[in-house]
Amino acid sequence: MQSTGTGTTRGLGLLAIVALAWVVVGGLVATPRDVVQGESVRIMYVHVPTAWVAYLAFVVTAVASAGFLRGRSRSLGFDRVAGASAEVGVLFMGLTLVTGSLWGRLTWGEFWQWDPRLTTTAFLFVTYVGYLAVRGLDGAPEQRARRAAVVALLAVLEIPLVHFSVVLWRSLHQRASVLDPGGDVRMDGLMLFTLFVGVVAFTALYAWLVLHRSRVAALAELAGRGELARAVAARRAEAGA
């Protein structure tokens, strides 16, 4: 009896585990502290990859939603991927905000800054949450999928507009020393390598999660249909007997 694992997911899982192990060892121990930022740069090895994955997840949800709407057969597979990607994405987005906030506390002494990147990230997070709430509304599967897909594509329109407005807004509040949230990090070879490994690790983990979760969603749907068919057959048997 097969669960949701296949060769692909096992490969991804293995890659993720190995790469994550490197990130932990490299990030916490092997890499040096930064000249400017000190130890807080270590958070970047986790923060940057989670941010990257969160944005990737958002793009995947949007593309899968578009794929669902354009496909003639309206295959629900696209919808399941869109949903799985958003679920995983919202978690990564939350982690991005938390790790970024901790980094900010260490670097600037503040948990939060009203700068465009952070503010847009917070908006992206709330938008994800809204999208998942829409997915939870009642209705027939095709109808729910279409609704969610439209909302996802509207979000693609909304996020750049929000970001642009916030950029303009914050440009009114120029300060003498503009602190870039990314920090002016001159990373040496080992640090950069650890960062890239982190990106690979978290992307592999993301892919693993999305594959498993969309398959779980397929199982739930199939199981539900199977249950329905069995119930109908049982009724018929009763009526016949």
């Binding site: 009896m1 097969q2 807080s40 939350g94 982690l95 980094w103 260490l106 693993w208 779980v216």
Partner: protein, 55 residues
């Protein structure tokens, strides 16, 4: 001694935040992985293998 203590404290704070970040990330992701696998194990027996598109 009095100069070293605040410095040591500063390093402690930094380390606390750094390890905290890694810990939060690890716990959250592990929780999602475990929850996903458990749900998969629960649902898989309910569906015939032939019906699963990835087998």
């Amino acid at each position: 001694m009095s100069a070293a203590a605040p410095v040591a404290l500063a390093v402690m704070d930094d380390a606390g935040f750094v390890i905290g970040s890694y810990a939060v990330t690890a716990v959250a992701l592990l929780a999602l992985v475990v929850a996903t696998l458990r749900r998969a194990r629960r649902l898989a027996p309910l569906v015939r293998d032939e019906d699963k598109p990835w087998t």
